[in-house]
Symmetry: C3
Subunit: 347 residues, 3 copies
Amino acid sequence: MFPKNTWYVACTSDEVTEKPLGRRICNELMVFFRGEGGEIAALEDFCPHRGAPLSLGFVKNGNLVCGYHGLEMGCKGHTVAMPGQRVRGFPAIRHFPVVERHGFIWVWPGDAALADVAELPHFEWQGNPEFAYGGGLYNIACDYRLMIDNLMDLTHETYVHSTSIGQPEIDETPCTTKVEGEHVMTSRFMNGIEAPPFWKANLRLKGLPDDQLVDRWQICHFNPPSHIMIEVGVALAGKGGHEAPEEFKAASWVVDFITPETDTSIHYFWGMARKFRVDDQSVTDQIREGQGRVFAEDQDMLELQQRNLLAWPDRKLLLLNIDGGGVQARKIIDARLAAEASLAKAA
Amino acid sequence: MFPKNTWYVACTSDEVTEKPLGRRICNELMVFFRGEGGEIAALEDFCPHRGAPLSLGFVKNGNLVCGYHGLEMGCKGHTVAMPGQRVRGFPAIRHFPVVERHGFIWVWPGDAALADVAELPHFEWQGNPEFAYGGGLYNIACDYRLMIDNLMDLTHETYVHSTSIGQPEIDETPCTTKVEGEHVMTSRFMNGIEAPPFWKANLRLKGLPDDQLVDRWQICHFNPPSHIMIEVGVALAGKGGHEAPEEFKAASWVVDFITPETDTSIHYFWGMARKFRVDDQSVTDQIREGQGRVFAEDQDMLELQQRNLLAWPDRKLLLLNIDGGGVQARKIIDARLAAEASLAKAA
Amino acid sequence: MFPKNTWYVACTSDEVTEKPLGRRICNELMVFFRGEGGEIAALEDFCPHRGAPLSLGFVKNGNLVCGYHGLEMGCKGHTVAMPGQRVRGFPAIRHFPVVERHGFIWVWPGDAALADVAELPHFEWQGNPEFAYGGGLYNIACDYRLMIDNLMDLTHETYVHSTSIGQPEIDETPCTTKVEGEHVMTSRFMNGIEAPPFWKANLRLKGLPDDQLVDRWQICHFNPPSHIMIEVGVALAGKGGHEAPEEFKAASWVVDFITPETDTSIHYFWGMARKFRVDDQSVTDQIREGQGRVFAEDQDMLELQQRNLLAWPDRKLLLLNIDGGGVQARKIIDARLAAEASLAKAA
């Protein structure tokens, strides 16, 4: 159960080069490729000739050539040519609205007539030269909402990521959840604590001492359908915390785009944007490597949680204060699902 | 959906030695073994004692001994002996009509009473000392008819096998399909072209120049249920093509026996027969190795095509001129299926 | 179909140390851990907070801490604490009666109110310093009753284990089955035979000659639900066989605890107890290694037998004299199942 009339990240820009990419998004088998000017296109991964997967083909003159018998497919799902054949009467295949922005390719798996580029989310770091970004992609066998819960409740860091970013103070400090329209924000501020290993390393990368107390913050932002951006960081204690001047803090923007693959699996695009040493690729690589290791720690937990929810489908879960972010996010998702259902009924 | 009152290749002769072979054919779990005189037998792979797989047993005095508790099974599915037991009342298991011919073992998975050895297909190269033969076996997760389509429409060589036997001229040259009774024949003749890499290698093997233009032919023969033989070759240009004298051409007979394993998987017996250097095993090995590499290129395409047909079960496929061979072959299969269905209804 | 109001071996003592162990027993997802005094506890592997698997957590002060958000669970399935939360109203999760005895942890997957420690089976070698024990655990994809059949009919040794413990004399010697209450006993005595390789090795370990004729015995004991203990051994011929004085024989007690994991898979705890060189760990290791190799030979047979029974669900199997032990064991199991069904109906 996911909204379909909305934008999801399908892939990163560098996943679609001269070769097409096949990927299942929201249960739809899609193929992504680049037209003549490099512009991105998304189609059903199904050749109208004999049903072959177009993603095994190649691009020629901006059309996608089926790798089985050479049918040439245009960006909008119409057959353009086929050796020795007239193609005018060939049935079209479905195309999906698709937009490329700042290194990501976004797709709208629902009703194309409703696709609105204005609804694309925008984040401060995107396309902003003051920031550097690095990230990766994991495939995880769980409902996308379990990952939203995970990211909107960072108390789990104390347990799942105890050797990197977790620390008891997270657990001990209450969080606050606010909702503004469809934007959910869960914040936690921990002052005068010791920085955990991941942040000590970031302080050092920034040339700051790692043996002083710090003020730490986590501000999780949810926007539907499943985009999460988390402001995280530490500042030397007493310098203003989240509001401290740049020179006293190590701050990052955690980027999480969660795209349903099926009802019980996701493409999880994770990354981190930062404002310091933005031209130093080795810093980007070092952070990505560390973040990738931390985020991999969630996989077992989420997949066995999913196994449990399938094994005990009728059991009610608890909604605690720490779950507030996830609960509010699900309310917004449910409202979107209800709106789509009544739209479908009206049609 | 496959005809069952017909002969399929179950295995090659050398797959059944002193050890039995278990294999699923047309959804039936079968075991193949050799009786006292070496004659082949096929039974359900199910010991009537406790249901153990007989294929884990061994052969003794021409009987198949169950590897669990020693029950001895005769070639027709009757228990012959068991240590310390009277076996007269033991229920028989099903046996399948089976014939060994020229290196292949054929089985009739349907009504044994209808099995007719006269219906076994015969090919010119079989048992003919003028020919040498080499081949292999692949297991592919697709409906057997997708492989028939594949082999009756060789335009796919241009795309799937572009580095070995494919060339644009295949695409550019129309093919012709003829039906005679249950025999479907699709032919394509390409004159005055450059030979692709696979055929250049074959010309060299035959001692012919590989830098001259050639006339190339492909003549696909389908016979039900799913036997395909393809005459392929090249002759030096202008020497008569398919009809050219032996000394000017490199010709082969592609052998394709397609046996359904389940509704969506096949045992694919592929091979090649030739008339030159028939005693040179190294040539046989070299051709088999090359052909094996080429035929492996189809696997991804066919398995993802099968995935697509299951994902979009209601979508109609196109029937183009190039599909004529496959379309006619399916008509013959459908007629056989209809005949079997009305036979079953009458019974 | 397995009795649930009974004791099964869940794991060995050393599988649950300071870390919890997750395991599926009789279709129930369970977690095993040790309370403050080291006493064993078994719960549903489901955190009442968000359904996370408790088995990924850790033990603190005798409580099981969920590895996701730190909920602390007590030994009886009540939430004891959670950082920043009142837990009084949290729903309990199910706990399972569990007992640790002589290196094994036993669990009662049925109605806890009926659990009776007096029903725990007891074997002579358990906790007895005159004996040494070594064993292992295999997971096998078959109904637990197929393994009972296997162990109560040792004629299969002649075929499945022909190079280690099998010999034709097993087949040639009839066995006798007796039932006393819920105890089934199948015995076979083979006198004046050559010892097979496994027993020759055991004779040597005991300092006895391996080139003399022996008297061999196999006495299989079944106790419900699925515990099998087999007295096996050889004595120098004519010294009294099973009753011979210790100095003339090599005797062992095969230990087989079969625990259903699902309807078609088992946890198979196998082992061997012996009375000689009990303090010599290298002898234990050597026997375990040999037994492990022998018992692994059954896996393919049992899993393909299971495949066959699923493929031919309506086919009746034979009940021969050699099957007497398995047949009687199943009668006792069926009676237990019927008793549980009528209990459930009455409730």
